[in-house]
């Protein structure tokens, strides 16, 4: 029993210990931010190794907590993302007076994500959603002297509370109609009764809130703009990743008896999300808002692939999340590096960026090309596998609409790249990059370029999917 606990619960235990240590540190002694960050990055590498130490299968606490190779992989992805965020936003974190609190909050949120994707019970699912969201809302407020930051936090907490309420309502309806809260017992109890369909819709809506799927996306842009860049990155990659992972489990392992409802629903949501996300992204002047809308559009593509209800679709989504993590974190990281130096985050201020910042420009261009799905970056494979998966149902009008949306998204990504590479009278001065950030950027670039050639990875995901 205890060895089971230690093995399967190892990453969660490690994170909890880390959080407690930080708490202790806070009340006992002063540590320089720089040292703390270095230790943090080291310890996080340890956590990564711990997670990667082996895919053990099993369940704990009466099937409340589940561990499978897929879940282990997903945790590894999330933890990698967390480490990259710590490195890319090094400068900002170093300068922050409440670094320890920030780390405690973000680690708690990460812990929440771990529990969330491992949950085999609806109560744990709900609790972990709260554990993810509440710390994030506090983190959004971490640009302490900015009013917009507080405003964003307020928006975040209100909309999350609403989403939680919707989720809880859905879960209680499920319990009412099936009499069970265990995920593995649910499929047998679901017979597409009207009330169950209503519950399914409510649960999907709550998830759509978290994924900022249209029409539940209204909080996204404001929160991203107001929040510190690091938190925006955290929200757009890690939180979306975790929710997508759980959505895959729910759709494929739990709610599959309701496929007849889920398929058209996801298809409509996906088209709406891609289109609205793209159209709004076209008009953005602020880079953070821009990335918010473009990430909305990306979520639409994931939904399209999931709507096929095929293993290939789920595997393609996980694969896409990995690529998206590297590309999007790189983009956010560059915004952060520039922003910390000179406070600029408007698209126009990037005009002539290439002149003095060659490395950053190429990194930005590569990550944006990857987000747009242009080869030779991995984003091409990520995006097109989503589309291939979406085509499995032979709804080609749907696929054509999605593919045409690639054109719109290409336009706005190219627009930024154009600004970066064109000349301008007032070019941005050379931006200094800290060592950890530089390393993380290289990792991001390597991921963006090489993952497309990692065919084995997709095979592996597909093989552990079943």
């Amino acid at each position: 029993m205890i060895t089971d606990f230690l093995i399967q619960f190892r990453s969660e235990t490690a994170l909890t210990v880390l959080i407690l240590l930080l708490l202790l540190l806070k009340i006992t002694r002063e540590v320089k931010n720089e040292t703390l960050l270095q230790w943090m990055q080291l310890l996080l590498c340890g956590v990564l190794l711990l997670i990667a130490s082996g895919p053990f299968e099993g369940h704990l606490f009466g099937s409340m907590f589940i561990a499978t190779p897929l879940i282990t992989l997903e945790k590894l992805i999330l933890a990698t993302g967390f480490l990259l965020i710590c490195m890319l936003h090094h400068e900002w974190l170093k300068a922050h007076e409440h670094l320890i609190e920030f780390l405690i909050l973000s680690l708690s949120s990460l812990l929440g994500m771990f529990l969330f994707i491992s949950s085999g019970h609806l109560i744990l699912l709900y609790l972990s959603v709260e554990l993810i969201t509440i710390p994030i809302a506090a983190m959004v407020n971490f640009d302490l002297e900015k009013r917009r930051s507080s405003e964003a936090a307020m928006k975040m907490i209100l909309s999350s509370a609403f989403a939680s309420g919707v989720l809880l309502f859905g879960l209680s309806l499920i319990y009412g109609t099936t009499g069970t809260l265990q995920l593995n017992e649910l499929p047998a109890a679901l017979q597409a009764q009207p009330l169950q369909i209503a519950a399914f819709l409510l649960v999907i809506s709550a998830f759509a809130f978290k994924l900022s799927v249209v029409p539940f996306h209204l909080w996204t842009a404001d929160v991203y703009e107001g929040a510190p860049v690091a938190v925006a990155a955290f929200l757009s990659v890690l939180s979306k990743g975790a929710v997508t992972f759980m959505l895959i489990t729910l759709l494929y392992k739990v709610f599959y008896p309701l496929e007849a409802v889920g398929y058209p629903l996801l298809q409509i949501l996906s088209i709406l999300t891609v289109l609205i996300g793209n159209l709004f992204a076209l008009r953005q002047k602020n880079l953070k808002r821009f990335l918010a809308f473009s990430s909305i559009a990306q979520m639409g593509f994931i939904l399209a692939s999931l709507s096929s209800y095929t293993v290939a679709g789920a595997a393609a989504s996980v694969y896409f999340i990995i690529i998206y993590l590297f590309s999007n974190l790189t983009a956010f990281g560059i915004v952060q590096i520039v922003n910390t130096q000179n406070g600029k985050e408007h698209l126009e201020s990037y005009r002539g960026f290439y002149k003095n910042n060659k490395f950053l420009s190429w990194a930005l261009a590569l990550s944006l090309f990857s987000l747009a799905g242009i080869p030779p970056t991995a984003g091409f494979f990520g995006k097109y596998f989503l589309l291939i998966a979406a085509a499995a149902r032979e709804q080609y009008v749907f696929v054509i609409l999605l593919a045409l949306n690639l054109m719109i998204s290409l336009y706005y990504y190219l627009n930024i790249i154009r600004l970066v590479f064109t000349k301008s009278p007032e070019e941005m001065e050379t931006v200094r990059i800290s060592q950890p950030a530089k390393l993380a950027l290289w990792i991001g670039i390597a991921g963006t370029l090489l993952l497309g050639f990692a065919g084995n990875l997709l095979e592996h995901i597909q093989s552990i999917m079943n």
Partner: protein, 495 residues
């Protein structure tokens, strides 16, 4: 010979360039790399010849297969037949000439050469791939370098042109993609594949061909300036820097023609037969419209860009005629037009560097001061209007003689109409040549012009040698192309 080396060499050259700082070294390495690439393709050609002479009758030679994404039926399957070798030869000629011509590039030299190498690597990858998704991957790779070349080094309304080009081409890719996936998923799960050879051996239902063919053909056609989606061509070509235009018109547009032939027509013969008339009409419109539009142009680059629309119309016309002669003529026209238009753009670049204008009306009497450049210019023009002895004549002749083999009244009318375009071509070419080259010197400062430098001369001679090699002795090219076309015709089940 392993075909991957064709793809890896430019990439390797690009990687070597990355850490370098000195401009001369950068140029030298880029030049060496692409010269070596030319030798490699020539070597490929000679090994191909000897394989065929030894009686190797396989459709695609030098096949290799590497697993990539097996669950989606994607493997890196390479192989070449005569048609792809012709295109590979064209690519390496134009790439080398392009690199030579841009010797005097002023800003961001390293980036410029990197992008050129990436662009050519995409083309090499495209022509050697036998897996449709991999082929699609290489088709799209070119978007980044094309866009950046026009944005950074372009002139005129380059932002507009670059956006138009990128978006139209991605739109075209979207059509191709939907066509490919449609083909994939509409087949029974047991035989689903993206492999060209596997697909070509299947009996694809006519019903399926009916809707996938237009998607694929239009998609690839857009790359090859299919009317009415040709509008990216004039803007893109005229805004790009010299080498960029050469690559765009000489190589990139040929990706489209190759795709129309190799994928749309070869894999979906029933679709091709069904839509042949529409293709022919659109192609004829492109030929005539392109020719007439050229007559109105004053800017040398626009003249060549619009005449490219007209000339690429011949490629599609040849494909749509579906006879052996016309189809192999179409491939010849791709090679010929690639060489000729690259030469044209190169010369226009040379003239522009000296006169700082591209307007025909502002030039005159250049023959007196720059005899080499103007002779090359005249040669390119004569090739364009189809003078016997040059490659343009051979290719167009072949297409026309193939076209006459079709007997219907529609085929006859369209053939006659497109034949007539030759006259219009002669008008605009001779007019442009006459105004720029002949007559008195327009400006006294023109006297100080220097004739072509060594790099310009080499580039021009390289392309001219290709044009002459096809024009004087077309037999070798025909021998290279025809077996490939024959296979397509066999699949179509027409004599």
């Amino acid at each position: 010979m392993n075909l991957l080396s064709l793809l890896l060499l430019p990439l390797l050259t690009a990687v070597v360039l990355l850490p370098l700082k000195k401009e001369v070294v950068i140029k030298g390495i880029a030049l060496t790399g692409s010269a070596f690439q030319l030798f490699l393709t020539l070597f490929l050609y000679s090994t191909y010849r000897s394989e065929r002479n030894n009686g190797n009758l396989q459709q695609f030679l030098f096949q290799e297969q590497y697993n990539w994404f097996p669950s989606f039926g994607i493997s890196f399957h390479t192989g070449v037949d005569g048609i792809s070798i012709a295109m590979l030869l064209l690519t390496s000629f134009v790439a080398l000439a392009g690199i030579l011509v841009s010797w005097n590039i002023q800003k961001m030299t390293k980036e410029f050469y990197l992008l050129l190498l990436l662009l050519s690597a995409g083309a090499y990858g495209f022509f050697i791939s036998l897996n449709l998704i991999v082929l699609f991957f290489f088709l799209e790779i070119a978007v980044i370098p094309k866009y950046l070349l026009i944005i950074i080094w372009g002139s005129g309304k380059n932002v507009y042109s670059a956006n138009k080009l990128a978006i139209l081409l991605i739109g075209a890719s979207a059509l191709i993609f939907v066509g490919l996936t449609g083909l994939y998923f509409s087949l029974p799960p047991a035989v689903r594949s993206f492999d060209l050879i596997t697909l070509s051996q299947l009996q694809i239902p006519s019903e399926l061909q009916r809707w996938t063919f237009p998607l694929l053909f239009t998609g690839f056609g857009i790359f090859s300036a299919l009317f009415p989606f040709h509008t990216w061509v004039p803007d893109g070509h005229s805004s790009a820097p010299t080498a960029g235009s050469m690559f765009l018109a000489g190589i990139s547009m040929k990706l489209g023609g190759y795709g129309c032939l190799r994928i749309a027509t070869y894999l979906l013969p029933d679709g091709a037969k069904e839509y042949a008339n529409i293709i022919l009409i659109l192609a004829t419109i492109a030929i005539l419209y392109g020719a007439f539009a050229t007559m109105l142009q004053e800017d040398l680059k626009y003249i060549n860009a619009y005449s490219s629309i007209s000339h690429c119309g011949f490629v599609l016309l040849g494909i749509g005629m579906l006879t052996k002669a016309a189809m192999s003529g179409a491939v010849m026209q791709m090679v010929s037009h690639g060489l000729m238009t690259a030469l044209f753009f190169a010369v226009i670049g040379m003239i522009y560097e000296r006169t700082h204008t591209r307007m025909v009306s502002e030039m005159g009497g250049l023959m007196k001061v720059t005899p080499f450049i103007t002779t090359t210019f005249i040669l390119a023009g004569l090739c364009s209007l189809g003078l016997p002895g040059l490659s343009g004549f051979v290719a167009e002749m072949k297409i026309f003689s193939g076209s006459w083999q079709n007997t219907g009244w529609m085929h006859r009318t369209l053939t006659i109409l497109s034949c007539a375009s030759i006259v219009i071509t002669a008008v605009y070419i001779l007019r442009a040549i006459g105004q720029t080259v002949m007559g008195p010197l327009k400006d006294a400062s023109y006297r100080s012009f220097k004739d072509a430098s060594w790099n310009e001369k080499t580039a021009a001679l390289l392309l001219i040698s290709g044009i002459l090699a096809i024009g004087i002795a077309p037999y070798w090219l025909q021998e290279l192309i025809e077996p490939g076309v024959e296979v397509m015709r066999l699949k179509m089940g027409i004599n």
